[in-house]
């Protein structure tokens, strides 16, 4: 593919700020990089900002963001949310569902007929269409319009939705996949039997940043060591598990450690943790990076990750990671970099946290190993090369 090719990126949302989910951020960053490298890039997104209501809050039409042309399309307002949620609930339990239930779920997912009309009418002008993440109705519908020029950025997790027959056809029909990590690729090959020739690992480039290991604690008067989690606070991300673990750690070991959280979402902490949690809420990038730099470790208890942007950010801040071993992706990143440890149960978590608390040199060296890994593997130079090689060969 020529460097001046015309590429369409498709994602459910594109916001002017940085308040989107990981997958949407990743697609946006890849699009920005492709545009900066000389490609003509058109980003197709819905007018929605809120991923619960999917209310059309941005006016439809075209808008310029630097080198990117973004076209906003309204979300269809005739979806039956009740039926969607019922089907989603049935699927998420992992029990087999009928083709009819799958179809009800997909039909009532987030769609935009205006976007599909645009692609049917003008899709021929795009050399490639890059769409993701896999779980959205929009991604599925777009993949059916121009399957031979559609590349998925699936951000795949090992979850019940990935095993639906509708997903089998989507992964089989499209030209190929751009994965964020090796374990994600292996998972797709296991579930969908994808041939190696249709798989490429690309990921996302990480920009280095300045941060201070003391500013966050000083600003917020935190005078004990703290463990940090950044991101959405919800059961799927493992937040309840982390809070239960930190509480048990404090009670069992008698060590005074604080839990610091940044990001959005409600959480319910055990009552004994009251006074030992600091919820910084949604903070600026600088504040988040300072919080990362000062932490004993960055704990990522989620088992559903395809990349782990925040873990890589913590490494850039020089802080080691502590991740759930059930996340093949996060464990892979820790294993490859030497920047983090992984636990599968509370006893392992306790031992590892004690080890990190008692060994500042180990913490420092692991943080530096992680930082080196991110700067080498996830530099934009590397990622750009992988992206264009993938576009060329798929």
């Amino acid at each position: 593919m020529k460097k001046n090719a015309h590429i369409a990126f498709v994602s459910p949302r594109f916001a002017a700020g940085a308040t989107l989910g990981g997958a949407e951020t990743l697609l946006r960053k890849l699009a920005e990089h492709a545009a900066a490298s000389g490609c003509r890039v058109t980003f197709l997104a819905t007018c929605a900002e809120n991923h619960f209501t999917w209310e059309n809050s941005i006016p439809p039409g075209s808008k310029k963001f630097g080198d990117l042309e973004v076209i906003y399309f309204p979300v269809d307002n005739d979806r039956n949310t009740g039926e969607f949620l019922r089907a989603q609930q049935a699927i998420s339990t992992g029990k087999p569902v009928s083709a009819e239930e799958e179809s009800v779920w997909m039909k009532n997912s987030v769609h935009s007929r205006a976007m599909y009309d645009h692609l049917r009418a003008e899709g021929g002008k795009y050399d490639a269409i890059i769409a993701g993440p896999y779980l959205f109705g929009i991604t599925y519908a777009v993949s059916q319009i121009w399957p031979k020029k559609t590349l998925l950025v699936p951000c795949l997790h090992d979850e019940a939705f990935a095993y639906l027959s509708i997903m089998q056809s989507m992964f089989a029909d499209t030209a190929g996949c751009l994965f964020n990590s090796e374990p994600e690729k292996i998972l797709a090959q296991k579930i969908f039997g994808m041939p190696e020739a249709k798989c490429r690992v690309v990921g996302m480039g990480m920009d280095d940043f300045e941060c201070s290991p003391t500013d966050f604690a000083r600003r917020h008067k935190i005078d004990v060591p703290y463990l940090l989690y950044s991101g959405r606070r919800e059961p799927l991300k493992g937040t309840p598990l982390l809070l239960d673990y930190v509480n048990a750690f404090r009670l069992r070991t008698g060590r005074d450690i604080m839990m610091v959280l940044t990001g959005s979402g409600d959480f319910h902490a055990p009552p004994e943790l009251e006074g030992h949690i600091f919820d910084a809420g949604f903070v600026s990038e600088r504040e988040k990076h300072d919080a990362m730099a000062g932490a004993v470790a960055f704990c990522h208890p989620s088992v559903n990750e395809s990349f782990g942007i925040v873990l890589l950010e913590a490494w850039l801040a020089g802080t080691p990671g502590l991740v759930h071993a059930r996340s093949e992706v996060l464990k892979y990143q820790c294993r490859k970099s030497g920047g983090g440890l992984w636990f599968k149960s509370y006893p392992e978590f306790e031992e590892e946290l004690i080890l990190l608390l008692d060994n500042p040199d180990l913490r420092k060296n692991m943080g530096q190993a992680g930082r080196k890994y991110v700067l080498e593997i996830y530099s934009w130079g590397n990622i750009g090369q992988r992206l264009f090689e993938a576009l060329e060969s798929l």
């Binding site: 239960d244 009670l251 440890l341 509370y346 392992e348 692991m366």
Partner: protein, 146 residues
């Protein structure tokens, strides 16, 4: 892209070895009962789904649970957040608690008994099936050798 290009590691730090050593140490401590603790059972409640495929986990979890099922209903402090009337309200709550204790204790002791019987039953089943599976595995191994 070869995976070897991804190997970075800090000089002198082998995280794989650290995790392996910790797993060994944890296994030993688990055998010694160091983690048979109701607080561990409570901490693992949201991790159960991830651990159900671990061979040794159910046995370990049941050991922790054995400590967690027998609850002492008196083991909590009666507190009051509203500062002004706190001593008065605490005294009132303690009086109410003292009057109701007689009724609550009966329910609580019955519940404790049911919890204990359930854990014993599950533990018994787990031991029985583990023994059966081990015997079957041994039998398969012997048959495969022939």
């Amino acid at each position: 892209m070869s995976s070897a290009a991804f190997e970075i590691h800090a000089p002198g730090i082998d995280t794989e070895k650290i995790v392996r050593d910790i797993e060994t140490s944890v296994a030993k401590k688990q055998e010694d009962g160091f983690y048979s603790d109701a607080r561990v059972a409570r901490a693992e409640r949201s991790n159960l789904a991830h651990l159900r495929t671990e061979d040794q986990f159910l046995g370990f979890y049941l050991k922790c649970l054995r400590d967690a099922v027998y609850i002492d209903i008196s083991d909590f402090e009666i507190r009051e957040r509203r500062r002004g009337l706190a001593p008065l309200l605490v005294a009132l709550k303690k009086t109410i608690w003292g009057l109701l204790k007689f009724y609550t204790y009966r329910l609580w002791s019955q519940q404790n008994e049911v919890n204990g019987l359930l854990v014993t039953a599950v533990q018994g089943m787990e031991e029985q099936y583990s023994a059966k599976i081990k015997a079957l595995e041994k039998r398969i191994e012997e048959l495969e050798k022939k």
